[in-house]
């Protein structure tokens, strides 16, 4: 069951990305181009998604002890603003602005068969593994499985 709901959530998310304009890198670059010919339309994507997810989050986590098809909620616990968080934002923003793809739009665009999208997704996996490699070399320990937002 939990695989089916994840599949449905992924399908909906991909559909939303494609319909919203987020899978058009030129539009993303236009949205980020605040000093040039700014295209504000993608701000509506975030605003609407937030308007639906935000209230749902607070309602659900207060009313329910556990999710429908899993044993417990698994939510981020970190609260500290760290140099690592800010550095990550800078590096991610640079990659996002460079090609106009974030992880979600790149994966959703894979079925187009565009080689540049394939290179982008390949790069994301290389970047993830590279970070883990450096991390475990520095810390001499395993990296935790889940991400904290």
């Amino acid at each position: 069951m939990h695989l089916l709901s994840a599949l449905i959530a992924g399908t909906l998310f991909g559909l939303g990305l494609a319909i919203s304009g987020m899978t058009q890198p030129g539009k993303v670059i236009g949205f980020l181009d605040v000093t040039g010919a700014w295209d504000p339309s993608l701000a509506f994507v975030m605003a609407t998604a937030l308007a639906i997810f935000g209230p749902t989050y607070f309602f659900v986590t207060r009313r329910r002890q556990k999710p429908v098809v899993a044993a417990a909620f698994d939510l981020p616990t970190k609260t500290q603003i760290t140099p690592r968080l800010v550095a990550g934002g800078v590096v991610f923003g640079a990659g996002w602005g460079l090609a106009g793809f974030c992880p979600g739009t790149a994966v959703t665009s894979l079925p187009t068969g565009e080689l540049s999208v394939l290179a982008m997704v390949g790069g994301v996996f290389v970047g993830i593994l590279l970070t883990w490699g450096v991390q475990s070399a520095v810390q001499h320990e395993d990296v935790p499985v889940r991400a904290d937002f």
């Binding site: 709901s5 998310f13 609260t79 990550g88 934002g89 923003g93």
Partner: protein, 141 residues
């Protein structure tokens, strides 16, 4: 349909997708976390993430079949630049614990200060990169 209407509709569907994963699976929808966790193939944690990725691919294939303009790219990049952008995105999201979805939608939706800071930073960095990249490309790079 007007861009703003499509953006609003798409955003609403993404909001429902994030709400679905929270209510059903108890998870925060973050694509960089999904991709990272999917690589931990020996753990059961990878399974739902691959199901999620499969869903995104199904959605992408369906939309590409009926409405290829949804994937129009007016700013194509070379393979080398695309690869480099991908590596930056991979490294940045692992260091920063998230991307546009996990921080920008779910994190801000949870009123997480970390996510608000991260989103502000990656949007600012993206804006600077767009200006710098345009300058470099105009210069023939």
């Amino acid at each position: 349909m007007h861009d703003f209407v499509l953006a609003t509709l798409g955003g609403a569907i993404m909001g429902v997708a994030s709400a679905t994963l929270l209510v059903m699976n108890g998870r925060i929808l973050g694509i960089s976390g999904v991709l990272g966790g999917a690589l931990k193939v020996r753990t059961s944690e990878a399974h739902w993430r691959w199901a999620f990725v499969a869903g995104m691919l199904i959605a992408g294939a369906a939309v590409a079949a009926v409405w290829p303009e949804a994937f129009a790219n007016t700013q194509p990049r070379t393979l080398g630049i695309s690869l480099m952008a991908g590596v930056l995105v991979g490294v940045g999201t692992q260091l920063g614990s998230g991307c546009t979805s996990g921080h920008g939608i779910c994190g801000i939706g949870r009123l997480s200060k970390r996510s608000m800071v991260a989103t502000g930073v990656f949007m600012a960095a993206g804006a600077v990169t767009v200006v710098v990249a345009r300058g470099l490309m105009a210069g023939g790079l």
